[in-house]
């Protein structure tokens, strides 16, 4: 019974939870907090049931289908396979923890916050499990609205600007995607006599080359904005730094994957030739993003004059935003390589990046609780001296250990989730026919990005864990010693004197699952790849088969692809 409607339940649970929460009196903040987290926990438990499905084949599991709007041929159609399973699980795993760390920034209107957050969750699960293109589009759009309000109402000082920027950027991409969607549907209807948005059905249309490029470009633009791909990323640092931190967790860990998932689920399977022809460009932009993001993240630390870097928490979040953006570039390279290891690496990296970013941001959230008032968390205070992060290795050892593991994953150290995904992506890209003859340059560029990444991550790590501690710094500079007896209160410059209390047991629990996941993915990636392998293999087989079938003007690259029919086909 549950299994027959498992995905519908997953979509409905947060929405019903939101309805339930809207009935609570808005004063009952404790009930609202625990109620919403309880809803998301139930959601997580339900999602874990999905693992019992048969993922040894590429067939969609838990498939459910009902006609919705018959006039337009739109159906409610959901299902998961190896490509989406990990993302649904990631969404449901991250959400309760992200909500739990939100409340530090959210000082008013708790009820609306919880409702918006739960609606976001419903839309996300809907988007990841939709098998109907129109339904995917609707859920895709719907994820935007809660985020808009979450940033715009509960965000920092420049929240409205950031929220509007995010909305408009995404909206432009989505609307062009909508036009491409009509075009796709129309062509299908002309071929088959009736409308359908079933993604598996739509794949049967063999498009001429010129049309494929445009349609792929329209879809890819929407996904590239969401991911984001360089140079469409300018909304990202603003949104990440202005959003309340729980929302930032959701955006960085989950929402960004929606763009990559769109490429994997919609754009490439529907328009393989378009993907093939534009793939190298996208991959090159991905690599450009990796390198560019590394420089931008480094710049936040202001290497020439460290005292001027990282003035506020917004700067720190900006740094994390760029770091996260950089790692997303690998997803594009992997997906566009059209090689088994590249695509598998990308699916794994989506999860790996999700858990490590979630861990990092949750740790930052916990540290924010100790160090600053919520007003300052997002203040752009130019007059402040740089944030003093230091000395946590001695004062907060548990925090330091968790932070260390997380940052090592961001660095891409073998044995953590950051390594294996990127390694697979690069090894796939290196041998990728699709990216010839520039694959070596792409890999080289990406490796340079990794090295640059190491620079800022190590720099940050040093500042966090081994720099001068805040209390000693304040006494040495004599700047903050206004009233050292009141521990944990704000001083005149607006900063708090850190009480340097280590993480409590509950706080450790907030991070532990993600740190465990980082190590688990790093040490035993096969346990996850097992689920995605059959789907990836059949996805690639399908894409390659269709590349051979498509009537083209025989571009050179497609020929070379045909010349090596099944070199790397499923193991």
């Amino acid at each position: 019974m549950i299994d027959a409607h498992l995905l519908s339940l997953l979509i409905a649970t947060p929405a019903l939870g939101a309805l339930f929460i809207s009935l609570l009196p808005s004063r009952a903040t404790a009930a609202i907090r625990s109620g919403s987290i309880a809803v998301l926990t139930v959601e997580l438990l339900l999602a874990l049931r999905m693992l019992r499905g048969d993922f040894s084949t590429a067939n969609l599991q838990y498939l459910e289908s009902h006609p919705w709007i018959e006039t337009l041929g739109i159906s409610y159609r959901v299902g998961v396979d190896g490509l989406s399973l990990g993302l649904v699980l990631l969404t449901t795993l991250v959400a309760p923890f992200a909500l739990a760390v939100s409340w530090h920034n959210v000082r008013e209107r708790h009820k609306s916050y919880a409702i918006a957050f739960l609606m976001l969750q419903s839309a996300l699960v809907g988007a990841f499990s939709a098998v109907d293109l129109a339904m995917f589009y609707i859920c895709w759009e719907l994820t935007l609205l809660p985020v808009y309000f979450l940033i715009g109402i509960w965000g920092g000082k420049r929240r409205i600007q950031a929220a509007t920027k995010l909305f408009l950027y995404t909206m432009v991409g989505s609307l062009l995607m909508l036009v491409a969607l009509f075009y796709t549907a129309q062509a299908y209807a002309e071929l088959n006599g009736s409308f359908s948005f079933d993604l598996r059905e739509l794949r049967r249309v063999a498009w001429p080359e010129s049309v494929q490029i445009w349609l792929f470009a329209a879809f890819a633009l929407a996904f590239a904005i969401k991911l984001p791909i360089f140079p469409l990323h300018s909304w990202l640092p603003d949104s990440y730094s202005q959003a309340p931190i729980g929302t930032t967790v959701m955006m960085a860990a989950v929402l960004s994957k929606l763009g990559a998932y769109g490429l994997l689920r919609v754009a490439t399977p529907l328009f393989p030739l378009g993907s093939y022809l534009l793939g190298p460009t996208l991959a090159a932009l991905g690599v450009a993003g990796i390198v560019y993001a590394a420089f931008c993240a480094w710049a936040q630390l202001s290497p020439s004059d460290p005292a001027r870097g990282l003035r506020s928490h917004a700067d720190l979040l900006r740094l994390i935003a760029y770091a996260s953006f950089g790692h997303l570039g690998f997803l594009v390279v992997g997906l566009m390589s059209m090689e088994p290891s590249g695509v598998e690496g990308a699916t794994l990296h989506m999860i790996g990046h999700g858990v490590s970013t979630a861990a990092l941001l949750i740790l930052v959230a916990l540290w924010q609780r100790r160090s600053a008032s919520p007003e300052l968390v997002s203040a752009e205070a130019a007059s402040l001296p740089s944030l003093n992060l230091g000395g946590l290795a001695t004062t907060m050892p548990i925090f330091a250990v968790l932070m260390f593991v997380t940052l090592m994953s961001a660095l891409g150290l073998p044995g953590t989730s950051g390594f294996i995904g990127e390694f697979l992506v690069l090894s796939g890209a290196f041998s990728a026919v699709a990216l010839q003859p520039w694959s070596w340059a792409l890999v080289l560029g990406a490796l340079m990005g990794v090295v640059l990444g190491a620079v800022y991550v190590l720099n940050l790590l040093g500042r966090f864990l081994w720099g001068e501690s805040e209390t000693s710094a304040s006494t040495t500079t004599n700047q903050n010693a206004v009233n050292p007896s009141i521990q944990g209160s704000r001083d005149l410059s607006g900063r708090t004197v850190s009480p340097a209390r280590d993480l409590s047991g509950r706080e450790v629990l907030l991070v532990a699952p993600f740190v465990v996941a980082i190590l688990w993915i790093g040490l035993a990636p096969q346990s996850l790849l097992r689920y995605s392998e059959p789907s990836v293999a059949s996805y690639l087989e399908e894409v390659r088969r269709r590349l051979r079938l498509i009537p083209t003007d025989a571009p050179k690259l497609a020929d070379s692809m045909r010349a090596q029919p099944s070199r790397d086909l499923p193991r």
């Binding site: 609306s112 609707i138 609205l145 109402i153 909206m171």
Partner: protein, 491 residues
């Protein structure tokens, strides 16, 4: 009982006269408003009940002037339903502003009657008469707040330009008669199609008719009156105008274009009337959306947005020109959806009305959502529906319309992309309203008056909210009706 099919119209006429008379004796003007609302709802109900009643046929002498097809019934329901909701808003608003007078409701009913005639007209005479009955009533209720200089100015402006547009339309009718020797649309259509008509004269006639009707729809370049009239009129009148005038004018445009000028050479994209309409679409979408961006006054902002929506509607007309009149269901559906969304947006504005306050501009709306959390749902639904966001009625309206345009192919795909970019600009200013209400902190300029207390206003807002949400989730039924209605146009 031969006039059964016109029962809703006759009812409105009778009640309008009755209200005018009763106004002399009845002290409570709110009751008159309630009577008008009831009459409109009953009329809408009758129109809906006549839907599948094929036995209802008009005698031939009337059929020449007025249609009684499914399209007429569909537009009747939209017109009467929209007018009823606008009338609900008026009752609360006018009482709060101490403007309650009986003739308002009589004029509103008469205008709606005229609009229904206009949307049913299949003869140039009845078309002109319907247009005039509708317009005269509206000229009067735009300037209803006679002590307010803006209202009088708006009314005068609207009247002068409107009279001019009527003259142009009338001239178009005369030219059509000169070209074909007929006044009823079907005969004109036959004459044009068979080539008996003078081609140049009938082209002139088409242009003049387009100008006259385009003025009522409010598309660029016939839009000059829209911002002033929308701003100057009392808010419920603005809502009424946006809904009723637009619906009737678009319906009449569909009838004229697809009955008289539906032959292949007239509907050719480059040499026929679509080439003119393309210009109107591009100008309306560009101008309406761009002018709204920096508009601090909410009613003017909605006026510019209505110009842009006029452009979207004409895009649907273009699609139907290529795919056949029977596909104009998208336009009819969009009319219904646009009416609901606009009424909801104006409903929120009416709720914020207070006696000594002008209609709030954006600055005064800062943080108002924090003071009145109940406004959240209607305001978000209303503006997002105008923007065309999923799970609101507007989304499937836009979806249906744009997919028709893309299906028509050719140049219309480019226009659809243009419309989409226009609505991305639309997203900016609709969101600005929401951001102002819900994200900005309360400032000293913010409205701090309590919400308007009126059962009718509240229920209108609730009904619109539910309908917008419902059509955003399950639009199939209404879409089906719109399709059937459009099918009668294709015959």
């Amino acid at each position: 009982m031969t006039l059964m099919a016109l029962l809703p119209l006759l009812l409105l006429l009778a009640v309008a006269v009755a209200v005018l008379v009763a106004d002399l004796f009845i002290e409570s003007k709110d009751d008159l408003g309630a009577v008008a609302v009831t009459a409109l709802l009953v009329a809408a109900g009758i129109a809906a009940a006549l839907w599948n009643n094929s036995a209802v046929v008009l005698p031939a002498s009337v059929r020449v002037y007025l249609a009684a097809d499914t399209m007429a019934l569909f537009t009747d329901v939209v017109l009467f339903g929209g007018a009823a909701l606008a009338c609900c808003l008026a009752v609360g608003y006018l009482r709060e502003k101490r403007l309650a007078r009986g003739e308002y409701y009589a004029l509103l009913l008469l205008s709606t009657f005229g609009a229904a005639i206009l949307s049913r007209a299949v003869h140039l005479i009845s078309l002109f008469i319907g247009l005039e009955i509708m317009s005269l009533g509206i000229y009067a209720i735009v300037g209803f707040h006679s002590r307010d200089g803006h209202a009088v100015e708006a009314s005068a402006k609207y009247f002068l330009l409107g009279a001019f547009a009527s003259a142009v339309l009338l001239f178009g009718c005369a030219l059509a008669y000169g070209a074909t020797g007929h006044l009823d649309l079907a005969s004109i259509g036959t004459a044009v199609q068979s080539g008996h008509a003078d081609a140049r004269l009938s082209l002139m006639a088409l242009c003049f008719l387009l100008c006259g009707i385009g003025f009522k729809i409010g598309v660029v370049p016939f839009h000059m009156w829209v911002p002033d009239a929308y701003e100057g009129a009392v808010t419920p009148t603005t809502a009424f105008m946006a809904v009723v005038v637009k619906t009737a004018a678009v319906a009449s445009l569909l009838r004229v274009l697809f009955t008289c000028f539906s032959d292949p050479s007239s509907t050719d994209t480059l040499s026929g009337w679509p080439s003119i309409v393309i210009v109107l679409v591009v100008l309306s979408i560009a101008y309406g959306n761009l002018a709204a961006v920096h508009q601090p006054k909410l009613k003017r902002l909605l006026a510019y947005s209505s110009i842009a929506h006029g452009g979207y509607l004409l895009l649907g007309v273009l699609a139907a020109a290529r795919l056949g009149a029977a596909t104009s269901g998208a336009v009819l559906y969009y009319l219904a959806v646009y009416s609901l969304s606009t009424l909801l947006a104006f409903g929120v504005l009416v709720l914020l009305t207070s006696r000594h306050q002008h209609t709030p501009d954006l600055r005064e709306l800062r943080g108002v959502g924090r003071l009145h959390p109940v406004l959240a749902l209607p305001a978000i639904l209303g503006f997002l529906s105008l923007l065309g966001f999923p799970l609101t009625a507007g989304f499937f309206g836009k979806y249906y319309l744009l997919s028709a345009a893309v299906n028509a192919g050719g140049m219309l795909v480019g226009l659809a992309v243009f419309a989409v970019l226009g609505s991305a600009i639309g997203a900016y200013y609709y969101l600005k309203v929401l951001a102002t209400m819900f994200m900005q902190p309360v400032s000293e300029h913010s409205l701090d008056t309590p919400l308007l207390r009126s059962g009718l206003v509240t229920s209108a807002v609730v009904i619109c909210s539910v309908a917008v949400l419902w059509l955003g989730i399950a639009p199939s039924g209404v879409m089906r009706w719109a399709e059937l209605a459009a099918a009668s146009l294709g015959r």
